[in-house]
């Protein structure tokens, strides 16, 4: 016994066109959502990194032993609450930092190069960097604390601006999705007027007709939406693999410096699924409204 045919014809041109429109719009919306979460995660990571590291510079000064000053400043920092470690960079490490600017084979002792102390913060919320700066200054006048605060706030503004732009794009993509789904659904509905009128004269209730259409378009929307979301998810995964931390190609490193690990978090994946369902429901609701409108016009 064959399975009963659907009352609303499947695989019509308008129906297939609608599936494709839904898939593409869903793909774009998912991509936008993924990018927004990516930027947000990356900016959090930058901020975290910046807040977790401060440097102390000890300027060489006549009549002072800058090595001793540096050691003293480091030991003050080490004892400060919220600080995990404070290491004076060795000559080689300083050389390595300066190499790109000054070239190789130079002797630091001939130059008035400041000594650097890298201070790692264990708890950015607990440590009072201003207080630490003052304390060190009091004991070692040649030392200054650079807490990167200007950087953090600048990055913070930039990141939130980027997220805001991303969210506006997401909103626009949503509006475009809604409009194209509405119009494609209405186009597909127009091709089904004959079906509606036949159902009508064989005595079908309006509610029955609307339910049939709603179910048909819900399935159609789900098919398109899930295809679009799946394509976006595959793209996220591929990007994660290609630009992930395990690969140490030049571009990979640059990208990961910029975006952190290029991996879309669970919000991206669940969001994609949510967008697919939302679009499917929208398709169904639009078809329901279109049917009722059509039924109201004819009687």
């Amino acid at each position: 016994m064959r399975k009963p045919s659907q009352l609303i014809p499947e695989n019509t041109m308008a129906g297939n066109a609608l599936t494709i429109v839904v898939a593409i719009m869903c793909f774009l919306a998912c991509l936008t959502l993924g990018s927004v979460t990516l930027v947000r995660d990356a900016s959090r990571e930058w901020q975290g990194d910046i807040l977790r590291e401060v440097t102390i510079q000890v300027r060489p000064s006549d009549g002072r032993d800058s090595a001793a000053d540096a050691a003293k400043a480091a030991s003050i920092a080490r004892l400060f609450p919220g600080v995990a470690s404070a290491e004076v960079l060795s000559d080689q490490e300083s050389n390595a930092l300066l190499e790109p600017w000054l070239g190789t084979g130079l002797d630091l002792s001939d130059l008035p190069v400041p000594r650097l102390i890298v201070v790692r913060v264990s708890d950015p919320d607990r440590v009072d960097l201003a207080e630490l700066g003052l304390k060190i200054k009091a004991e070692v006048p040649t030392a200054t604390l650079d807490d990167h605060r200007a950087w953090t706030s600048r990055i913070q503004t930039m990141a939130s601006a980027t997220v805001l732009v991303g969210l506006s794009i997401l909103a626009l993509v949503f509006v475009a999705t809604i409009l194209s789904v509405v119009f494609a659904t209405r186009g597909a509905m127009a091709g089904n007027k004959d079906v509606v009128s036949v159902l009508h004269f064989v005595g079908a209730e309006d509610g029955y007709i609307a339910r049939e259409f709603q179910r048909h378009f819900l399935m159609l929307g789900l098919r398109g939406g899930l295809a679009g979301a799946a394509a976006a998810a595959v793209l996220f995964l591929l990007m994660g693999l290609i630009l992930g931390p395990s690969v140490s190609s030049g571009t990979g490193e640059q990208m990961s410096a910029l975006f952190g690990r290029f991996s879309v978090g669970p919000i991206g994946y669940f969001g994609a699924l949510g967008i697919a369902f939302l679009i499917a429901v929208m398709t169904a609701v639009t078809s329901r409204i279109a049917v009722y409108r059509y039924l109201a016009e004819t009687d």
Binding site: R2, S5, E10, V202, G203
Partner: protein, 219 residues
């Protein structure tokens, strides 16, 4: 069961196609609706079926004033009327069986509850071996019979058939007519719109004749 009183109808701002129609269709009756092409036979059937409303006059359907029926009353009334359209209006993506079963399917009935009835009816109209075929591959006569079977499956109290013999050869036309007579004998009122005088002359039945917008009844 259907009564018209001084019914008039015009399409839009055009001339009045039907004027002062008064007649009734009684239970278990059999009648032809006739008149030249373009006289308004199809239009009159649309009025009976409540696919449109008259411009003036009264239509009473199954004891109720048609103007008092709301949109939600219509499906129930339509199920008591079987219609065979001139152009059949079969759904091409459904099999013959599914097309015929449609009036029961839209009542949310299980297929198992009506399967034997539909098969039996298909055999009665001579489509027993065509029930899994789709309308595009059916001949004109087969489509005609499928449309008739769909009109009958819900056991309507009245059957309206618009030019049911218009697309078939004379032997099949006679067979279809015998089918309608048999149906009428079983208790259904039958209205057959036709402009085929020869066909009507083979039956001694009531005639509703539309000419120049007016209707005359010959009992």
């Amino acid at each position: 069961m259907i009564r018209f009183e001084n019914v008039g109808l015009r399409y839009g701002v055009g001339p009045e196609i039907l004027r002062d129609l008064s007649f009734d269709i009684r239970p278990r009756s059999f009648q032809f609706l006739t008149g030249p092409s373009g006289a308004g036979k199809t239009t009159l059937m649309r009025l009976i079926f409540m696919a449109m409303r008259p411009t003036r006059g009264l239509i009473n359907v199954f004891g109720r004033d048609a103007t008092s029926l709301t949109k939600s009353d219509l499906p129930a009334v339509r199920r008591r009327i079987g219609v065979v359209f001139q152009d059949f209006r079969l759904l091409d993506h459904l099999t013959t069986f599914e097309n015929v079963a449609l009036p029961l399917r839209v009542l949310n009935k299980e297929e198992s509850s009506y399967r034997t009835d539909v098969v039996e009816l298909l055999r009665w109209v001579g489509l027993g071996d065509r029930m899994h075929a789709f309308p595009p591959v059916l001949s004109g006569g087969e489509k005609q019979r499928a449309a008739i079977a769909r009109a009958l499956i819900g056991k309507p109290e009245i059957l309206l058939a618009d030019e049911p013999t218009g697309n078939v050869d004379p032997p099949l036309a006679r067979r279809l007519m015998r089918l309608f007579v048999e149906l009428n004998r079983l208790g259904t009122s039958v209205v057959i719109a036709t402009h085929d005088i020869n066909l009507m002359n083979q039956f001694n039945a009531r005639r509703l004749v539309i000419e120049e917008g007016r209707l005359t009844v010959y009992e």
